[in-house]
Symmetry: C2
Subunit: 468 residues, 2 copies
C-alpha cells in the first residue's frame, strides 16, 4: 500500500509516517483496522525493524494510530483533530483515555457534569473571591519578577508548614512547585524512568498518568485497586518478578474508586518498597478533603523513598494550575532540572496567590466548609444512585468519588451517548483501566448526584432496563 522511494531526499522513516497518515486520512485504512506487525511491515517494505518501530511510535504520538499492549497497532478511532480544531466545546463521545481526559476539561456549561473530577464552580467563590486576589496583588505581589526554577521560596515555606501539620517532614529545599500534580508526574517520569522500565500503577487509576507512562515507553504493571486498597499480594508478586523502579499510588480518596488505604496497608506497602527497592509516588490531590487524622505514606516514610505529590487545582480552584512535589533529597536537583527544561519556571502570580490563601488561614476554612458540604451531598447521592439502580461499592464515607457498578447487560457506550444527548456527562469506568476492565462501571462525582435530571435519566435507563 505504501511505496517508499529510496532515491528521495525525504528520509525513509518520514515517508513511512507520511504515507501511513495519508492512508488513514483518506480512509484507505479505516478506524479500528489492525496494522501489520512490525516484523511483517519491515519484511514487506524491505526496511529495518527499528525504522518501523520508530514510525509507529511517531504515528501513536500524532494520534493517528493506537498501540495496544500485546496485540499490536490499530488505526485510531478518533476523528482527525485538525478537522475539528475550530469547533469549540463540542461534546464528542470520547473513545480513548486521552480524548476522554481532553473532553473532561471542556464539559459544556449546559451539561450536568456527573462524571467530572472537579467540584462545582460556586463552591470556590469563598475560597478565592476576586476581591481577595485584587488585594493580594495590590498589597504584596511584585508582578515584575519571575519565580526561581524550584518555586517561590515563601510559597515553598508555606507548603512545608502545611505538610508539617500533616506529619510530613518536607523542607522548602525538598519541595519543587509544578503546574499541577500531573506536571509533577511528568517531571518524575522523565527524571527516573527509561523506556522499557516496569512501573506499578493502580487498575483502575488516573488515565492521564497511564498515558504519560505509556507514551514515555514505560512498561505498565497494573495492580488491582479494590475498595479496601491496592491488592498488595499481587503487588508483592509483581515487585518480585519484575523489579519495578517506581510505583504510583493514590492513598486517600482514590480516583476513581473513592477508596482510602488503611494504616496497615500503608505500612505493608512501604515495607515492600524497602524490601524490593522501589520508589513510590504518592498522589494526594484529593487528600486535603480527608479528615485531619488521615494517614499518608509520606508520613510513615518521611520522604526517604516517597515522592509526595499534591495540587490546589482540585480543591482550591480549577482556574489555577499549582501543584508541587516533596521529593527525597537526592532527587530534588534532577526534578528541578527537568522542570527547567520543560517550563523554565512556575508562575510567580499563581504561586503568590496560593501562598497568601495558605498563610491567611483562608485555605483551612475553605477545606472545612467544603468537607461539610461534600459529606451532605454524598449521603444524598448514595441514596439517589442506589434507587436509580447503581450498585455502589461499600466505601469510604467521605470524598468526591462514588464508584458505581451497573448491570452487565447494559451497553455503557450507548448509555454514555444517550446521557450526552440528555446533557449529562458520565465517566466510563473503562477509561480508568489500563487493562480495559471495569466495562460496567461509572465514576460519579458526589457533588452532582442530587441532580433530578441525572437521577431520572438513570432510573429510566438503568433501574427500569430489562435484566437478563
Amino acid at each position: 500500500m505504501i511505496e517508499l522511494n529510496r532515491r528521495s531526499k525525504i528520509p525513509i522513516g518520514d515517508q513511512l509516517v507520511d504515507g501511513m497518515a495519508s492512508l488513514v486520512k483518506e480512509r484507505s485504512l479505516s478506524p479500528g483496522a489492525r496494522l501489520p506487525s512490525v516484523r511483517q511491515l519491515a519484511r514487506r517494505l524491505g526496511i529495518s525493524h527499528s525504522s518501523v518501530v520508530s514510525a509507529y511510535g511517531r504515528l501513536v504520538s500524532m494520534g493517528v494510530i493506537d498501540a495496544q499492549r500485546g496485540s499490536g497497532h490499530y488505526v485510531a478511532r478518533r476523528r482527525h483533530f485538525s478537522e475539528t480544531a475550530d469547533d469549540e466545546g463540542g461534546q464528542q463521545d470520547p473513545t480513548d483515555a486521552v480524548s476522554y481526559a481532553m473532553n473532561a476539561l471542556d464539559i459544556r456549561a449546559d451539561c450536568v457534569p456527573a462524571g467530572s473530577g472537579f467540584l462545582p464552580g460556586s463552591w470556590f467563590d469563598e475560597a478565592l473571591p476576586s476581591s481577595v486576589i485584587g488585594h493580594i496583588l495590590r498589597s504584596k505581589l511584585n508582578i515584575a519578577s519571575s519565580a526561581p526554577v524550584q518555586g517561590l521560596s515563601g510559597f515553598r515555606g508555606q507548603l512545608a508548614c502545611k505538610l508539617d501539620q500533616q506529619g510530613i517532614p518536607a523542607t522548602p529545599g525538598t519541595l519543587v512547585t509544578t503546574f499541577g500534580a500531573s506536571h509533577a508526574f511528568s517531571l518524575i517520569i522523565r527524571a527516573l524512568i527509561r523506556p522499557g522500565d516496569p512501573v506499578i500503577v493502580e487498575d483502575p487509576g488516573y488515565p492521564v498518568l497511564h498515558a504519560q507512562l505509556s507514551t514515555h515507553g514505560a512498561r505498565l504493571l497494573p495492580i488491582s485497586r479494590r475498595m479496601d486498597g491496592p491488592d498488595l499480594d499481587a503487588l508483592e508478586e509483581a515487585a518480585k518478578l519484575e523489579r519495578p523502579r517506581l510505583c504510583f499510588i493514590q492513598t486517600l480518596f482514590h480516583n476513581p474508586t473513592g477508596s482510602s488505604m488503611t494504616a496497615a496497608q500503608c505500612h505493608r506497602l512501604l515495607a515492600l518498597a524497602e524490601r524490593h527497592n522501589f520508589l513510590i509516588v504518592e498522589d494526594d490531590v484529593y487528600g486535603d478533603l480527608a479528615p485531619a487524622e488521615s494517614l499518608r505514606l509520606a508520613q510513615l516514610d518521611e520522604l526517604n523513598r516517597i515522592f509526595y505529590v499534591s495540587s490546589f487545582t482540585k480543591v482550591l480552584s480549577p482556574a489555577l494550575r499549582v501543584g508541587f512535589v516533596a521529593a527525597p533529597a537526592p532527587f530534588v536537583e534532577t526534578i528541578v532540572r527537568q522542570k527547567l527544561m520543560d517550563v523554565v519556571s512556575g508562575s510567580a502570580l499563581q504561586e503568590s496567590i496560593v501562598c497568601d490563601v495558605l498563610r491567611s488561614g483562608r485555605y483551612a476554612k475553605h477545606l472545612e466548609r467544603t468537607r461539610t458540604r461534600l459529606l451532605k451531598c454524598r449521603s444524598e447521592a448514595e441514596i439517589a444512585l442506589s434507587e436509580a439502580g447503581v450498585e455502589l461499592a461499600s466505601q469510604d464515607p467521605e470524598g468526591i468519588f462514588l464508584w458505581g457498578k451497573l448491570r452487565a447487560s447494559l451497553d455503557l457506550d450507548d448509555l454514555v451517548r444517550q446521557a450526552l444527548a440528555n446533557r449529562i456527562w458520565l465517566a466510563k469506568g473503562s477509561f480508568f483501566s489500563p487493562t480495559g476492565s471495569y466495562q460496567n462501571y461509572l465514576r460519579f462525582n458526589a457533588a452532582y448526584c442530587h441532580d433530578l435530571g441525572l437521577i431520572h435519566f438513570l432510573k429510566e435507563r438503568v433501574a427500569l432496563s430489562p435484566s437478563r
Copy 2:
C-alpha cells in the same frame, strides 16, 4: 572502583548508578574527571554496553556527570544540589548552561542584572497594574473553571487577531497555549524528535533550548548566528548532509546577539526548508518589541512548515508564564496531546488576564511605551559600554540585547566572579554556545547599562586592563 553484586535484589543498573553517585559525592571521583568509556566500563564490570549507556544517561539527568559530544563523560563540576537546596538566593558562579539559566531566574535583588534577559520590574507597572487585575477578576473571570487542554477559546481568538495584524494567518484552531515559549519548545521536541534525530540550532543561541534538545537525545547541528543572521551557506550544507527534521531560529532581536534577519534571509531559509524538507520553529519572544513592519518567517510561510512560538513572559510580565505556539494544522493534535500528558491544561486565570490585556488595547500601548523607553536606554548603553572598552558588534538599532566582545586577554570567568562580588550580574557568551565558543563575549541587557556601578566596574577591569 565499583563492585557489583549479582546476587543482590537491587538491579545491576541501579547499583552502578548508586555506586558512581557515591564515588562522586565522597570525591573519590573529582569534579571534571573523565569517566571510562562505555566500552571500557562494560568490559571491566562484565556487563552489557546498554546497561552502562543507561546508567550514564541517568547520571547525566541527575546532574552527577556531564556528557560531552564526541569526547565522553565527565564528573559534573557543580556542587551537588541537595547540599544547597535550602540556602536561598545565593549567587553562585554558574559553570554550565543549565545552572546559568537557573541562576538567571534568581538574581539577587541587590545586584545590577546587567546580563539578564528580562526588562526592569518597574517597566511592567503600567502594563499590568494590580487594580486592573482585580477588576478583571471581579468583573469577568470565572475562577471556578479549568481551561480546555488547547487553551481558553476566547484567548486563542485574541491571539489569532494579534497574529493577523502581524500578517500571520493563525486561527484559534491552530493555536495551543503553553506555560511560556520554552514550554512550547519542550512540547514540539517531544512531539517531533526521536533520540538521534539531527536538529539545527543557532550558535550562539538560547541555552535552555540546547539543554532541552540534548537531554531529549537530539543531535545538535550548530549553525553560526552572525550579526547579519544565521550562516545560511553552512545551514544549507548541514541540511544536505544531515537531513535534519527541525530547525530552531530566532528571527527578530536574537538572543544573545540582538540581531534580526533580513527579508531576503527569511526567504532563502524558507526555500531551504522546502527543498530539504525540514520544519522550522520560529522563536519570537522578543519580536513584539520590534517595529510593526518587521518580517517574520511565519508571515512568508503561512504556517505550512513553521511553528510560530511566542510568549508574554518577556514583554508583559515575568510573573506570568503564558506562551503559545501557532502550528501547521496537521501537527496541532499531537502538540495538544503532548500538552495534556505534561501539564493537563493551562491556567485559566493567567490566560484570562493576558486575554483582557490584549482585548483592552493595553498591551499595544504598553509595547509602544516600552519600545520608546528601550530605544533611549539602548543608545545610552552603546555609548557607555564602548567607553568602558566593550566592543559592540554593529547591529540592530533596537531591541533588548547588546552583544559585547572583550579583549581576548581578559579571563571572563574571573571577570564574572569579580562582578558578582561587586553585585553585578553578567552573562558569559559561552553559555549561549553549544560548541563552547564566544569565550570572550558578554550579553548585555540595554535597559541596565546606564548603571554607573556597572560602567565604573567595566572601565576599571576592561578598559584599563593590560592589553597583551
